[in-house]
Symmetry: C2
Subunit: 275 residues, 2 copies
């Protein structure tokens, strides 16, 4: 894998083996889609990062510094994904936080994933994962570094025809995909699961909710999902992805999905094939 | 913090900033108490590590190699704690595991924590944490790298007179301390909470259960804990720690605690002040 990287603002590709990010997953990350020098959802990423830093009591770096570093690593890639990882830095053994933690900051740029343009028209195939998300309101919504549930869920299949997996909570309620949020049009109404007990409050999800203020945030059963007229995923990296199949049920790309794809296109993302 | 370290068998103190241990907490650790070259609970640590590697589908390094590396870093420290961290290595962006993961192996030795010998006689003070452990049977029992719950719980207090915090699950059942397992003598019977839905199956806990096969593993309410005649913590690093106070309730070090402290002493640990 090739990536250009800055660690604490300096060229480098390593962190201390005593970093609390490694020891305990004590930190946060953002994965931000850049088109050249521009990240259309930048301010939403910074808003979530700030809010999560506050919740974890991590000192948040200045957004301007992060933007400068992101542009430096993404420089001259026409389409890139910048991953920013913040940790509570190096600490003594034990869970207690250092009195004045020196946050570790990794900013790395990757080539944007190659997405078959057809996927944005035809849609992607999903499966339902057997891995269930645990309810932890203290961590819900954040893009923190404790991601073993997602790793286990993603390890459930390796059929390349299946692009994503649906994650439910322990009570069987649909929450999200493994690396994207999920929306469905149920009885004519756009809805997305709440992420206050588990799941990640995606930046693309926030954009969709801003564009569609009538959307409902609530409980979504698997039954309701299978009965939906449209289903799509939202991802800051991949945009608006129509779902064409889930557990033998077929869906077609509907008006709401098309509308949001156009919006994504208008934001400045080219790949999402708006229209 | 000074530590001697081997990373993948070589002198070094860094890991790749793209390591999945950092990106997702995708890995495991063990903290092993050494007395000189000897780790009395070694085989229990290796047993848990093997079992957890199997559960996470991580290739387990050979125990003999780990022992050689642990002795190399702990060399000439009379009392040390060796932390071994295993991760799924460097991976592409995304949760999907590399087809043939190259496990990252960090073996680091620290001076054993200075423990006031009095603590083993007088006991330590505990508080009840408000942070609740989420139920996740797929991860329960393992000492994996997703430890944000413990970080949040430990951040709840900084009174140095409080040595540990009691963690309950979402339903209010007592599970453990933040970095030790918990035992109580309730109605004359030794018991410890089950750790099949959350919590860590401690190596010291396994030793206690082997020594006391009559001990009961089950549900422990806070009420039962406050009504217990003895309470102690078990830790592979700190041994058997009597609890003298919890939420205003006082306990005295009882026969069971003394018995297990003697056993710890007989195992070859000197600090636990057996007798």
């Amino acid at each position: 894998m090739t990536a250009r990287m800055l660690v604490n603002g300096l060229s480098g590709d390593t962190v201390s083996a005593l970093d609390r990010g490694l020891s305990y997953g004590d930190g946060l990350f953002e994965t931000i889609r850049f088109v050249g020098d521009s990240a259309p959802l930048w301010s939403r990423h910074m808003q979530r990062l700030d809010e999560s830093c506050r919740r974890l009591q991590l000192p948040a770096p200045a957004a301007l510094q992060l933007l400068r570093e992101a542009r430096a690593v993404a420089h001259d890639m026409p389409q890139s994904v910048v991953r920013m990882t913040l940790t509570r830095g190096i600490g003594a053994r034990g869970y207690a936080s250092p009195v004045s933690p020196q946050v570790t900051r990794v900013v790395a740029a990757f080539e944007a994933p190659a997405m078959d343009g057809d996927m944005y028209f035809q849609g992607i195939r999903l499966r339902v994962c057997t891995t269930r998300l645990a309810e932890q309101p203290l961590l819900a919504g954040m893009k923190h570094l404790n991601r073993l549930e997602q790793v286990l869920a993603r390890a459930e299949w390796n059929d390349p025809a299946i692009a994503e997996g649906v994650l439910c909570d322990a009570r069987g309620r649909v929450i999200s995909a493994t690396m994207a949020n999920l929306f469905a049009v149920v009885d004519g109404r756009l809805m997305t699961p709440a992420v206050d007990r588990c799941g990640v409050a995606g930046v693309a999800r926030a954009e969709v909710l801003a564009v569609c203020p009538e959307a409902e945030i609530g409980e979504l059963t698997l039954e309701a999902l299978l009965g939906a007229s449209e289903v799509f995923l939202s991802s800051s990296v991949r945009g608006i992805l129509p779902v064409c199949s889930l557990n033998g049920r077929d869906y077609v790309r509907g008006d709401m999905t098309r509308h949001l794809q156009r919006h994504w296109h208008d934001l400045g993302f080219s790949m999402e094939q708006g229209g």
